[in-house]
Amino acid sequence: MTEIKTETKRDEKTEVRSIHLDDYVALLGEPEIDEIRTLAGKLSGRTVQMVNSTAMGGGVAEILNCLIPLMDDLGLKPRWDVITGGNAFFEVTKAFHNALHGGAYEARKEDFDLFHATTELNRKRLQFDCEFTVIHDPQPVGLIESRPGHAGHWIWRCHIDLSQPNPDVWGFLRPMVFKYDAAMFSSPSFARQLPIPQYLAYPCIDPLSEKNAELDPAYVRSVMDRFGIDVGRPIITQISRFDRLKDPVGVVRAYQIVKRYADCQLVLAGGGAVDDPEGGVVLEEVRHAAAGDADIHILDLPPWSAMEINALQRASTIIVQKSLREGFGLTVTEGLWKKKPVVASAVGGIPAQIIHKHTGLLAHSVEGTAYQIRFLLSNPAIARKLAEQGHEHVREHFLITSNVKRYLTLFLHSMQSS
């Protein structure tokens, strides 16, 4: 077992890229880009407000960092506002977040009061005068009370799994959600029965970001050298936090079965071991399971390792995502985009991406995962075909441009319906 812990740090300030829709022509073709422009032409000059709870860090901020400049490039007038709140507020919303995912939560009146009070402060601080207002996630959901009469179109974009929410927290938020014109969820299985229309909005990746853009093969090689990984032998990789729900120990077990039949290496790369107490425990379990095998590479990477992760994925022979529970599984999307054959668990949003035997292979157990890896190692032509079709699936449906198009369509539909 080799283990690397990166010590270097860098400025964590987010650099917002200058993005234009034309940057994506080479990847999507002119017809697709032109048609997005045609849809946007009907919305020229319309004002859009996006509101979330953080300007950097986290998937929503990452998406808005792309979405806002692209909408601007398309002639809309987008604005991005971030709510503010003290530590106590964000502790409450973190507790709400976990409770909405089905975690334990003991309802406290002071939590709900603080949520209302912080919402009131943000209502006074922010302006709400746009034709389309999109509120992201539960933290700013109460801003709907600032809607002037029934003006504009208000949409609640929920990025989290609401399939089994804590009844107290959901009971508190639900009356606010009911006041929106529509809600958007990342999967049909995440939605609730609501009296407002609910739309599907898959998460997406930016193919031009550090984590997904093409890399110089020399850079990929240098990263592999740095981590001591042999590019001459098959590499099986899972990128994910050291979290039990990602089942890294299960991945080690699957690799150990494969290893009886094929010479290969395993890379488990992720973070979460430093600031998550459970992450440290899981990392220890993985180390224990991997002990004595020099072909298992455990990489505890810092959050700013996007290019290294990109390189690891590109150098891999097979990408694995053996989660026990999953939101959407953007690491699967990333692997497919890089034309890698993917073996993944049939949980959360993964089956939407992995159409079994067409865009990848699904598995339901350690043994099944091992078998599918062995199958792909023995059948490289099939692996290539799955990878090609997986790439096409992502190109069509799970890129940032699809996200832009979905918002444009929703805005047009809202205008036509009202």
Partner: protein, 218 residues
């Protein structure tokens, strides 16, 4: 070269997926859902599904068939549901009736399968369609060729497959225009006969252009 009296109007289409309140956790619930779901849901899981997976040329036809295979592990039912060719339907209710007939036949032959839990639920969704004219049109076959080359896959799917539901005719926008406006009956029939199940939409478009080139060269 003949010029059409009525030009071909290219449009772009975009769909929202509306999540319904119905789901199925076993075959019996799928059968009941099929009976009760909206036409927009039948459309989403058949016509739109074919467009969504247009780059796959084998094994995939509609969401019901795919679920029967992947979540119920019932290959026979999946094959029979997949065999329903959406081009044979001018009305979504006719398609629903046939989907139900296949499901009922399987349920009657295998009553013990009705309540067997699926690996994962089936969620009924609906398609919400938004169309916008692309702003360019064709009056001649050459202009049409240029236009169709510059069409996205989604818009090609709309003109080529979804059109029959709009026209209520066993044809498509392209063939209809070739026959009615340019008098090119043979070209219209050749294009209408292209197999979209064993071709991707991109390869169907390439064939269409090949047929047009043959017509232009004749």
């Amino acid at each position: 070269m003949k010029s059409a009296e009525h030009p071909f109007q290219f449009v772009t289409v975009s769909y929202l997926t509306r999540i319904g309140n119905q789901s199925a956790r076993n075959l019996g619930e799928l059968r009941d859902g099929l009976e009760k779901c909206s036409d927009a849901s039948v459309f989403y899981h058949t016509f739109q599904s074919l467009g969504w997976h247009h780059f796959l040329t084998e094994g995939f036809s509609n969401d019901f068939a795919q679920w029967a295979l992947s979540a119920l592990n019932r290959a026979e039912l999946a094959e029979r549901l997949a065999a329903l060719d959406i081009r044979g339907y001018l009305d979504l209710n006719e398609l629903r009736t046939d989907l139900l007939r296949v499901a009922d036949e399987f349920c009657n032959a295998h009553p013990d399968e009705l309540t067997r839990p699926a690996f994962e639920p089936f969620y009924f969704c609906e398609a919400v369609e938004v169309t916008v004219p692309l702003g360019w049109e064709a009056r001649t076959l050459e202009e049409f060729r240029r236009g169709v080359q510059h069409l996205s896959t989604g818009s090609f799917h709309f003109h080529f497959l979804v059109s029959r539901l709009r026209l209520h005719l066993r044809t498509n926008d392209f063939s209809q225009w070739f026959a009615n406006e340019l008098g090119l009956e043979t070209l219209a029939q050749r294009i209408n006969g292209m197999d979209v199940y064993t071709n991707t939409l991109d390869s169907a478009r390439a064939k269409l252009i090949e047929y047009i080139d043959q017509e232009l060269a004749a």
